[in-house]
Amino acid sequence: MNWRAVAAIYRFEMTRFFRTLFQSFISPVISTSLYFVVFGAAIGSRIDTVEGVDYGAFIVPGLIMLSVMTQSLSNGAFGIYFPKFVGTIYELLSAPVNFLEIVMGYVGAAATKALFIGVVILGTASLFVDLTIQHPLAMLLFLVLTCLSFALFGFIIGIWAKNFEQLQLVPLLVVTPLVFLGGSFYSVSMLPPVWQTITMFNPVLYLISGFRWAFFGMADVPVGVSLLAIAGFFCLCLGIIWWIFRTGWRIRS
């Protein structure tokens, strides 16, 4: 293993993040506060509790997941798309590194940034509502796994994308709807039965449900299934990336 290469990529990517640290910090704080004003005050006044949990607290896991998923996805995609775009990818291709080292560097950095934002949102949210986390370790595990697997997914998008439009297409067209419809702001049991069945095909539901279980001990689907789903997604993405580097698809002419 060329650990120094992993560290070099990771550090290089994180410098970019630190250059814009204030923006990275302030935007989730503002958007979280807005969610609480809108959802907490407007909807929360009509829905008191969901399955015994205060509505304001209930949306916190979904809120974190929404940001963490979109952030790690776009960070992961941009991180590898940018070298392709400016041409510095030649360095990665001609250096003594394998696909795993490149992925660890880029995906690790993308996931770290998303994790940071997730923690900022959690902190902001705890200013608005009382939060007790029943299974802190499981919470952390879900959070880290989600960051990593969505950053991996983003990495694939970044390699696939041939222009900036494509780069934004998948997050906008696929992920955001899936996250909104995945029970971020409601419990599946609140839906009519037909929709409950349809929602079961949404992979994001399993992540949000597992994450929420870690907070409140209640879930739409069994927590084991959630864990399996995210682990499966993680492996799938890793497999695709392994194939990309073996064949040189869209990177090596």
């Binding site: 291709l93 250096a95 002419s253």
Partner: protein, 312 residues
């Protein structure tokens, strides 16, 4: 010892275009090889195949004895690459991109070495500037600094002096000369024949994906020393007169010109004797002129020859 060993390498791009058509090339440790060739000859493709940027369709490449595909880590450890295109992250600080390359090659951080490289390339004062604030020539030097940052044993320079002014070009030659003194093997591509003359040990000519010639520069220069004496006659000849046989003359097709080949550096060129012999043979001389081979002529001649062959 052979440092780079390219055998039977072909490269067919996705569209079906064959950019390399069977390249064999051996590069000795510590030498400077200049690769000359017109636009589209396949110079960049060949370098890309050695460095792992593109995969050869056929053939094998070894660097320092390591296959660049199956044993890529060991091979690439040795290789530094300065690409033809200026590919740099515009917002990054100079020193950070240079450090990044060193890390990518698995080398421990070494600030003294980085400082030395940047100073040699007159970039030290610009170390904290963002890349986008540099001039074109400076950016090219950043690319060189990046390649040198990981102490390669083999350095590929793809047109390092394109768009670089004369003074800076000499500075770069100086850097190349010093690397050679340290035993680094250097392969550079160029369109400038003077550049090949100035710094190379050997010169290779490539066109349409084939190596047409690889020769010691000195041997090539000796060939360059060849001159022609052309004697234009008033009356056409049927054959070279027997009394002029010893001079190995050739008669041109219009039968009005005799051509004598000699070496300008030789002690006795034989011109005096030839002219006397021509006079005593009773030939009427209308005009006399001389012409010299240049590397350019050799180059143009080779390329034209290949094109004829391809057409046939």
């Amino acid at each position: 010892m052979t440092m780079v060993e390219i055998s039977g390498v072909k490269k067919r791009y996705e569209g079906g275009f064959e950019a390399l058509r069977g390249v064999d090339l051996m590069i000795k440790e510590g030498e400077i090889l200049a690769l000359l060739g017109p636009n589209g000859a396949g110079k960049t493709t060949l370098i890309s195949a050695v460095c792992g940027i593109t995969l050869p369709t056929e053939g094998t490449i070894r660097v320092g004895g390591h296959d660049v595909v199956t044993d890529y880590r060991a091979a690439r450890d040795l290789i530094g690459l300065v690409p033809q295109e200026i590919n740099l992250e515009p917002f990054e600080k100079v020193i950070n991109t240079v450090r990044f390359t060193r890390g990518l090659f698995g080398k421990a951080r070494n600030d003294a070495l980085i400082e030395d490289v940047l100073r040699k390339l007159s970039l030290w004062d610009k170390r904290d500037s963002a890349v986008k604030e540099l001039s074109g020539g400076m950016k090219r030097r950043v690319l060189i600094a990046k390649a040198l940052a990981h102490e390669p044993r083999v350095l590929f320079l793809d047109e390092p002096t394109a768009g670089v002014d004369v003074e800076l070009r000499r500075d770069m030659w100086e850097v190349v000369a010093e690397l050679k003194r340290q035993g680094v093997t250097i392969i550079l591509t160029t369109h400038y024949i003077e550049e090949a003359e100035a710094i190379a040990d050997r010169v290779g000519v490539i066109n349409r994906g084939q190596i047409l010639l690889v020769e010691e520069k000195d041997a090539l220069m000796a060939r360059l020393g060849q001159k022609e004496l052309r004697i234009d006659l008033s009356d056409p000849l049927d054959a070279v007169p027997p009394s002029l046989e010893e001079f190995d003359l050739t008669l041109t097709e219009d039968r009005q010109r005799l051509v004598y080949t000699y070496h300008s550096g030789a002690e006795r060129t034989g011109i005096g004797r030839l002219m006397a012999a021509v006079a005593s043979a009773g030939l009427k001389v209308r005009d006399v002129s001389t012409a010299q081979n240049s590397l350019e002529d050799i180059f143009v001649g080779l390329v034209a020859e290949q094109e004829e062959e391809d057409a046939a």
